[in-house]
């Protein structure tokens, strides 16, 4: 999950047209049979991210609920609540849609969806409020693993099954306090972005990094992966500038400053797609059509730029919809008392001009919008 901090809308845009309605249908179309994540997702990729306690990841492709299991869950008439860190982006939207679709098939009612707007204290309030509705399952992504821990612990002690996205609160134990953590392969996505960068620069040049200046597990992993990969694998590429952002609207200012200070910059990595759009605007303004931008998350605007062979050359994408399905499946495991792996990851997806339309379909379970299709022609 590219659950960025502070007010950002990270990510994969354009899902709305997709996400809210049609993806749900996709799930309903296969209303019987076992529940798994999208079988089209390639499974041969090694998952590079490590879990919050250093666990090696189990691929989400291995998760499954059989038809009998689903029917058994249905009998329970369970209730679930989704407690988000932030609901204002397509990553969240797609994830919630995936969850809702899978829960629907399992006969589980989603009684509340909350948005903490990146405020840990709000999230604690949300957990308390949601507990008033007595849910059996809470699927959640902690804003901050430290300060929300006690609230989650309270929920766990009350017997609620907890499934986490991306990160687990500190001090809670897998298998005891919570079921499992399902993550996108953020580290892998960072590596993908580095590789595309290296490829486009011919293994040589000067690059800048726009990172998320906050103690946030997910975005830290990405930047770390990008920088480590560049340093270790591509010694001729030098990271000459680093600039932090706290909000997505800052992307343009930071990128402009970088280009002012380093007019000879060849590429910029931006930690997620929304600030990357700002970097794009900065590059356009500076007349730097030759710049290479890589980022993470397949948003509409960056997809359009990739499709039209523009400044954004490629990115690593997450698969939030399927991540949601994986989480729902794991919740099912817990309800059934089935052993669940502590750390599950959904593989990273490399997106470039060549595969942008297919990638879109994979991520959002529907065809890319017309504008992108036109651009790709």
């Amino acid at each position: 999950g590219c659950n960025q901090k502070e007010s950002d809308s990270n990510s994969s845009d354009g899902s709305s047209e997709t996400g809210n309605t049609e993806t749900t249908e996709v799930a309903e179309n296969t209303a019987s049979g076992p529940i798994t994540i999208n079988p089209d997702i390639s499974g041969d990729q090694e998952i590079l991210s490590k879990g919050p306690h250093g666990e090696t990841a189990v691929s989400a492709k291995t998760l499954q609920l059989t038809e009998e299991e689903v029917n058994k869950i249905k009998e329970g008439n369970y209730k679930a609540a989704i407690v988000m860190h932030y609901a204002g982006n397509d990553w969240s939207t797609a994830q919630i849609d995936g969850l809702k679709a899978a829960f629907k098939r399992m006969g589980i009612e989603v009684v509340a969806v909350t948005d903490a707007n990146f405020k840990a204290e709000k999230q604690v309030s949300d957990i308390e409020t949601v507990l008033a509705k007595d849910p059996d399952i809470i699927v959640s992504i902690p804003v901050d693993p430290v300060s929300t821990a006690s609230a989650y612990k309270k929920a766990a002690d009350a017997g609620v099954k907890l499934v986490f996205m991306d990160n687990a609160p500190q001090g809670l134990e897998a298998g005891k306090d919570y079921v499992s953590v399902v993550s996108a392969d953020n580290y892998g996505n960072g590596v993908v972005a580095a590789e595309i960068m290296a490829e486009k620069l011919g293994g040589k040049g000067k690059v800048g990094v726009i990172f998320h200046d906050a103690d946030f597990f997910v975005t830290k992993q990405r930047t770390e992966a990008f920088e480590k990969t560049i340093k270790e694998k591509y010694p001729d590429i030098k990271i000459v500038a680093r600039g932090g952002i706290t909000a997505p609207n800052d992307g343009e200012k930071v990128a402009s400053g970088m280009l002012t200070k380093h007019p000879d910059l060849d590429g910029i990595f931006v930690v997620w797609d929304v600030p990357a759009e700002g970097a794009l605007a900065a590059a356009r303004t500076a007349g730097r059509d030759d710049l290479v931008i890589t980022t993470i998350d397949l948003g509409t605007n960056v997809a359009l730029e990739i499709a039209s062979g523009g400044i954004v050359k490629g990115l690593g994408a997450q698969l939030p919809y399927d991540q949601g399905i994986a989480e729902a499946i794991l919740a099912g495991y817990a309800l059934l008392g089935k052993q669940a792996p502590a750390y599950v990851a959904v593989p990273a997806l490399k997106v470039t001009e060549e595969n942008v339309l297919d990638a879109w379909k994979l991520v959002y379970h529907k065809d890319a919008p017309e504008s992108i299709q036109n651009a790709a022609k």
Partner: protein, 325 residues
């Protein structure tokens, strides 16, 4: 503040204004409670535990609101409170981590608020910079410090007495946060309405010049209300820390606006001279209740925002109509 002001409403209008502003928030609050009690009575809204949750969730806003009522009553504004809570939560947590004990933690949290409040107060009264600019600048400085002090990392607090006393504990079934809110509200109310200091605070906001002519040390009053605001923000920071068992630089983010909204909704005039502590706390509770009810109702975030905005406007508009008659 170089641009202090005096009331110039037509006498008739002011009289009316005074009226409805005194009661509207109570009416609106009761209306909101009744509405949710009816629509959400199957969904646990009216359970004791949910109502106590609302009290917990609004405690920090209410407590900062009490102090902000004084600031706004003098016709000034304090935008730095949100940042102060963040820094205070961290300094308290760091002090506890460093083994300075309960009192070390309390001293660090309150001291942070106090120090910033003093600086604000001095800049506003001695250097005479408008409070909006001073506290806006301070908001950035303090937030930056909070980020910098631990490099944005949160600091866990394992001191269970601290956590109990400041946020997490219950006495019987009464959350300690509710007790703190009540104590601060009562003290604030008494100071504003029953002491010379409170009277002089309102006089300073009502007409600074006239107050000065009457022997009110308006600079001292203004200084003190900013110190109070800083101190209460520091206290709120400790409550966040105790409630979350950690200090973190994002605590209280955006709280300045919620606090000011609670104060204005409560009936205190943004132009000074009129203030009510009880109104502020009711305003804070009302916002908290709306937040809680809409989540229980299961609305989308976007719907929640729309409905919340509508309720605030309509509640005031409706109250305005009712009281006009």
């Amino acid at each position: 503040m170089p641009s202090k002001v005096q009331n110039n409403l037509s006498p008739a209008k002011r009289l009316k204004a005074f009226d409805w502003r005194n009661y509207i928030v109570y009416i609106a609050f009761v209306g909101v409670i009744i509405y949710f009690s009816i629509t959400l009575h199957d969904e646990g809204f009216l359970t004791t535990s949910n109502l106590l949750n609302i009290a917990r969730q609004t405690a920090m806003i209410s407590i900062m609101g009490v102090a902000m009522t004084f600031v706004i009553s003098t016709g000034e504004i304090d935008l730095s409170v949100g940042s102060i809570t963040a820094l205070a939560s961290l300094t308290a947590a760091l002090a506890l981590q460093a083994g300075l004990g309960l009192f070390g933690g309390i001293a660090a949290g309150l001291g942070t608020g106090l120090a910033i409040g003093i600086i604000n107060g001095l800049l506003i009264t001695k250097v005479a910079i408008p409070s909006f600019l001073v506290t806006l600048g301070m908001m950035g400085i303090v937030k930056g410090l909070a980020m910098w002090i631990t490099g944005t990392a949160p600091v866990p607090i394992v001191h269970s007495t601290f956590n109990f006393l400041f946020g997490s504990g219950d006495i019987g079934s009464i959350p300690i946060l509710l007790i703190w809110t009540l104590i601060i509200t009562i003290i604030g109310h008494i100071i504003l309405k029953k002491t010379a200091f409170g009277r002089q605070t309102l006089a300073t906001g009502g007409n600074e010049m006239a107050a000065k002519f009457s022997g009110v040390k308006t600079s001292k009053i203004k200084f003190l209300v900013f110190v109070g605001s800083g101190l209460m923000a520091g206290f709120a920071g400790m409550l966040y820390a105790g409630r979350m068992h950690a200090g973190r630089y994002t605590f209280g983010e955006g709280d300045e606006l919620s606090v000011i909204a609670a104060v204005i909704l409560g009936g205190t005039s943004l132009f000074g001279g009129v203030g009510t502590v009880i109104g502020t706390v009711i305003g804070s509770l009302m916002i908290g209740t709306i937040n809680n009810g809409l989540i229980i109702m299961g609305l989308d975030v976007s719907q929640q925002m729309i409905v919340k905005g509508l309720i605030i406007i309509l509640a005031v508009a409706f109250g305005r109509k009712t009281l006009k008659k």
